[in-house]
């Protein structure tokens, strides 16, 4: 990493995102790293290191890194942080910036499309509602129109994409 290539504005851009403001309070104690269940299995994943890279302004290493997508959002880091950095929120802010910079993983687009079309991650059709009725369960909405308005996306016109979780 060359410091001359770094972007000192990156930390301000992250801090301006909801949940990103804690970044600047980090004093590198590594309590988050010690607690992280992902870091325990993936040595190159280290919340403290990601924060340092962000503070130094290594834009590419942060926004384009596949590592930022490995946080499982367990919030263990937020429980132990003496500085109230809330790394799990900071990494969400970083992911939002990464998406806007063109580094969104394909799954993010698919999620938005699916929600716009069905109001849920999983498609609900007459088939699902019939299955529910057989078990005595009330119907759920098959396509709440306001999701499309909120997300500004037209529903899928072709066959439904692969189902998620």
């Amino acid at each position: 990493m060359r410091l001359n290539d770094c972007d000192p504005g990156l930390k301000f851009a992250i801090a301006a995102e909801p949940g990103g403001e804690g970044l600047k309070a980090c004093f590198s104690c590594a309590a988050c790293s010690a607690r992280c269940p992902v870091g325990a299995l993936v040595p190159e994943y280290d919340p403290r290191r990601l924060i340092r890279l962000a503070l130094l302004g290594d834009r590419e290493q942060v926004l384009a890194s596949p590592l930022i997508w490995l946080c499982s959002a367990c919030h263990g880091c937020a429980e132990v942080c003496p500085q109230d950095v809330r790394f799990s929120e900071v990494v969400t802010a970083i992911r939002n910036l990464a998406c806007r910079a063109g580094y969104a993983p394909p799954s993010q687009k698919a999620i938005a499309k699916q929600l716009a079309a069905h109001g849920r991650l999983l498609e609900v059709t007459e088939f699902e509602n019939n299955k529910r009725a057989e078990l005595g369960l009330p119907p759920v909405s098959e396509s709440p129109g306001d999701f499309q308005t909120i997300l500004g996306l037209a529903p899928e016109s072709g066959p439904a994409p692969g189902e998620g979780a």
Binding site: G19, C74, H75, R86, S88, P105, V140, S141, I150
Partner: protein
């Protein structure tokens, strides 16, 4: 007592055993779960891509709940966490509230502060109470041992989810298991994350995260693991075979929902609680209820 049930994405489509058993248990305990078919996703899946849009989706649900005047009771821990955080944020930040209202207004919705969000398990503990549940137990499950899985979003971040339990030394689910007469196992990996949050990004990593807990519980030999979140269920039940194969582990742990355990203790039959839809059958338990 009435509550507005929040089903979210996964439960009403993939986890009908959870929904059926939750409704039975609520009813038996005097909680009327009210339905609003147009409630959809809580916004959680959108957070990584666009948390402002995610917040509007959460606010949409909270506005719909406010119009009913009822507390909002999700079955999923990710929904409970997302909606609680959103309500906390919007109730304390007038600027964020105004921003969100600008999007909700044209949809005919009004955000009103003060909606109480509580996961069903938490609602049962805090509103119904252990004593009232114990009085309704007709079939104590004293010969069985369940391993509670708290997951992450049921108790964390404690900044907004606090007041129920200590995420560093949780007891709430153990108490709900014990009220059924069963034993609750305290184990080394009790607080481990299921890995569901990274399933989309790295399947192998997610599997290794869930695999540790499944390995420990296989060795411990419990009746079943007890979960309160459909995402945790995806990892521990839905992915269990794939994890065993990929990691070459000898694992087999039945997974049940807490509400299925409570339902049996309250006198319901396994068929009334959706046990047919459990993919790794808790044989020991089902044998006893033949």
């Amino acid at each position: 007592m009435e509550a507005l049930v929040f089903l979210g994405c996964t439960v009403p489509v993939r986890n009908l055993n959870y929904e059926v058993s939750a409704r039975k248990v609520a009813e038996a305990l005097g909680v009327k779960l009210v339905d609003l078919p147009e409630l959809g996703c809580c916004g959680y899946p959108l957070k990584s891509g666009d948390q402002r849009a995610a917040l509007v989706l959460a606010a949409r649900a909270l506005a719909q709940a406010a119009a009913t005047g009822l507390p909002l009771v999700p079955l999923c821990s990710a929904c409970a966490g997302t909606l609680t955080e959103a309500a906390h944020h919007l109730d304390h930040d007038p600027a964020a509230r105004a921003e969100v209202q600008a999007e909700l207004g044209p949809l005919g919705l009004t955000y009103q502060p003060g909606v109480k969000v509580r996961h069903l398990a938490r609602f049962l503990l805090e509103e119904v109470g252990l004593e009232a549940i114990a009085q309704k137990v007709v079939r104590p499950l004293s010969e069985f041992t369940f391993a509670p899985h708290y997951g992450c979003h049921f108790l964390k971040p404690s900044r907004v989810m606090g007041g129920l339990d200590d995420p560093e030394d949780p007891r709430s689910l153990a108490r709900l298991i014990e009220v059924s007469g069963a034993k609750s196992l305290d184990y080394a990996r009790l607080k481990d994350c299921c890995g569901g949050g990274v399933l989309g990004a790295d399947e192998d990593l997610a599997g290794r995260m869930a695999g540790g807990k499944l390995g420990e519980l296989t060795a411990a030999g419990v009746t079943a693991m007890a979960v309160v979140c459909p995402f945790c269920n995806v990892m521990f039940e839905g992915q269990q075979k794939a994890i065993a194969k990929r990691l070459e582990l000898e694992i087999k742990v039945p997974v049940v929902y807490l509400t299925q355990i409570l339902g049996l203790a309250l006198g319901f039959k396994p068929d009334e609680l959706g046990f047919k839809l459990n993919r790794i059958k808790p044989k020991e338990l089902l044998e006893a209820f033949k």
